[in-house]
Structures are given as structure tokens and as C-alpha cells.
């Protein structure tokens, strides 16, 4: 029996220095967000497994709370999961989230796959963070165990480091 070996192997995300794959996904019924249109400002991608699950909710609530700090870096925060747009809408309304949640819904998980954080067995993404610079280059990525809220500290550090290295 090999079942004891079912350790949860976390995905390896795209490394710092990689070109961030472009995407265009719905954020509300009738609106989409693309990476290309955000060129010129840092972008934070917060992939999470599902709307409504307890850890996700805490994580997104925390990011809403820290949003003004992200905005000090002129950074755009995007939450991404495979949930559909109506689910996102209800979730955002219920939890008072005022940043965009993108629906990686059709083709399902395409964006998560492009960013190498799709969990094929679960049909969801990893709980993964990316900080992309104003030129569309990945500057920091992190995959957290699915049941662990990674907090906001790593994102803030990465945004600070953009400032330090940004002149190059």
C-alpha cells in the first residue's frame, strides 16, 4: 500500500524573473480584467481554492483590511479562483470585499495552469501569491499549504523590494 505517501506536494510557481503570462478574465458580469491593461503598476495575484471556505474568507478579509497599504505602492490586488462570476459577486458582497475577484472558470483553471498553481486532483488552484512588477515580470511568488492563510507580510516585503530594485 502506498497510501501513506499521499503527502500534499505543493506546486512550484513561476520563479522571480519570469514573464507573467497574460490573462483576461471576467471580474463582474460584463467586465474583464487583463494583465496587459495593468502594465505600469505592480499587480498582486492572490490565487485561492474557493469562495466561502473558511481560510479563504479570512485571507481575503485580511487583504481587504490591508488594501490601503498595497495602494501606497500603487499596486492592484486581484483575487483569483475557479468559481464563477455570480459566486464571486455574492461572496464579495457578503464579505465586504472591494477588490476584483477574477473567475478562472472557463476554460476552467486556465490561468492557474499558466501560473503553474493548478491542483488537478482537486479542480482548484493552490493558495498562491504573485507580485508582478510594472513591466509584467514576476518578482515574487509563493505557494502556501492550502489550509494555511499566508498573511500579507510577504506581499508587502515584495512590494518594498520592487522599490529597491526597480531602478534597474
Amino acid at each position: 500500500m502506498n497510501q501513506v505517501e499521499t503527502v500534499d506536494h505543493l506546486a512550484t510557481p513561476l520563479p522571480a524573473g519570469a514573464k507573467a503570462p497574460d490573462f483576461e478574465l471576467p471580474s463582474t458580469p460584463g467586465q474583464t480584467v487583463s494583465l496587459a491593461e495593468l502594465r505600469g503598476q505592480p499587480v498582486i495575484l492572490a490565487f485561492y481554492p474557493a469562495d466561502w471556505s473558511p481560510v479563504c474568507s479570512d485571507q481575503m478579509a485580511l487583504y481587504q483590511e490591508v488594501l490601503p497599504e498595497f495602494q501606497k505602492f500603487n499596486a492592484e490586488l486581484l483575487g483569483i479562483s475557479v468559481d464563477g462570476i455570480w459566486c464571486h459577486l455574492a461572496f464579495a458582497r457578503d464579505r465586504n470585499l472591494r477588490f476584483d475577484l477574477l473567475a478562472d472558470f472557463e476554460p476552467k483553471g486556465e490561468m492557474a495552469r499558466a501560473y503553474r498553481v493548478y491542483r488537478a486532483n482537486d479542480g482548484t488552484s493552490e493558495r498562491a501569491l504573485y507580485v508582478i512588477d510594472a513591466e509584467g515580470i514576476v518578482r515574487w511568488s509563493y505557494v502556501s499549504p492550502v489550509d494555511v492563510n499566508p498573511g500579507a507580510d510577504g506581499i508587502l516585503r515584495a512590494l518594498e523590494n520592487l522599490g529597491k530594485e526597480g531602478a534597474s
Binding site: D58, P150, D153
Partner: protein, 183 residues
């Protein structure tokens, strides 16, 4: 490495001048809680902390810092400011306790009633809350938590390092005793 790992440690050390502290400065262990007065998990932790304090006595120093998640808890910010307003009148812990013992009653009129009950200068208390005199302090606590890796409430630090284990009485007590022994 494409992923960066870091140890979650307290970014702002405990200071006697600034922090709300119970227990002696030279205690063997310092336990810091980042908490939200409206968070049910913090409410559940409240009697646990009391028990741990009773059992460790003078060997434990307990510190409380604000981490209101207003996105989820509409009254958390005002409650945190109420505790700070009480602190400015020398009654932080009394207010802290009243708030955790009445987590479902944190509307403005409730806070005012607690201020009266604690014999605070209610006029000053009202003014502090209306003008958000203590909002900056609450936010300072919040950001020190964010930078220390607080990822939900309550989050505990034992001698400066995040306690990721359970905070049930026995688990917390064992972790505190381990930290005390390694001093």
C-alpha cells in the same frame, strides 16, 4: 528559489511604555496576542488566557495588541478604540475584559454603558471615540501584526515567535513551559 520562506517573528518588540501588559517585566515567558474584540475565536481564547495566567502566575507576562478585522466585524474598530480610550484613563484591562465578556453587545451605546460601569470620565471617553483619537494607535498595532505575519485572529507570539499550534489550554501551556525552560 521561486518561493521565499520566512520565520514569523514579532516585528515590534514588547515595550513596557507602549504595550498593555499583565505580569512582571522579568517573567520567564512573554505571550503576545493580536486580537479582535468581535472575533468569536478570540472570545473562545479569552477564558483560556485567564486560565493560563492563573496557572503560570508571575512567570508569565501577557500582552494584548489590537488586530480588528473590520471587513468581517463591523464593531471591532470602535471596540478597539474604546479599550484604548479606557487605557488613556488607566483602565485598559478592565475594558478589555468587559468587551470579551460581552462580544455580542459592542454597539456605541453598549461601549458607553461599559465606560460608565467602569467609572470612566464618560465625556472624555465619548469625545475620544467620536474623534477617533486612538485610531492611529489601533492601526499601528494592526500594521505591526501584519508585518509580524498575523494571518487571522487570534494570533499568538511566545517570546517573539509565532505560535502556530493549537491554543487549547494544555497545548498553549505546554508551549509556554517549553519556552520558559529554554530561557
Amino acid at each position: 528559489m521561486s518561493t521565499t520562506d520566512w520565520e514569523a517573528v514579532l516585528s515590534v518588540p514588547v515595550t513596557e511604555d507602549r504595550d498593555h501588559i499583565q505580569g512582571p517585566a522579568d517573567a520567564a515567558v512573554t505571550l503576545v496576542e493580536y486580537g479582535d474584540y468581535e472575533c468569536p475565536y478570540c472570545g473562545a481564547a479569552y477564558p483560556i488566557i485567564k486560565e493560563v495566567q492563573a496557572r503560570m502566575g508571575e512567570r508569565l507576562r501577557f500582552v494584548f495588541r489590537n488586530f480588528p478585522i473590520t471587513t468581517s466585524h463591523a464593531h471591532a474598530e470602535q471596540a478597539a478604540e474604546a479599550a484604548e480610550a479606557a487605557a488613556s484613563q488607566g483602565r485598559f484591562w478592565q475594558m478589555h475584559d468587559v468587551l470579551y465578556e460581552n462580544q455580542r453587545r459592542l454597539r456605541d451605546q453598549d461601549l458607553r454603558a461599559y465606560a460608565e460601569k467602569l467609572a470612566l470620565d464618560v465625556e472624555l471617553f465619548d469625545k475620544d471615540l467620536a474623534e477617533h483619537v486612538h485610531a492611529a494607535r489601533v492601526h499601528e498595532d494592526f500594521m505591526s501584526g501584519v508585518r509580524s505575519g498575523v494571518n487571522g485572529t487570534p494570533t499568538f507570539y511566545i517570546n517573539g515567535t509565532r505560535h502556530d499550534d493549537s491554543y487549547e489550554v494544555e497545548a498553549l501551556l505546554a508551549a509556554l513551559e517549553r519556552a520558559a525552560a529554554s530561557q
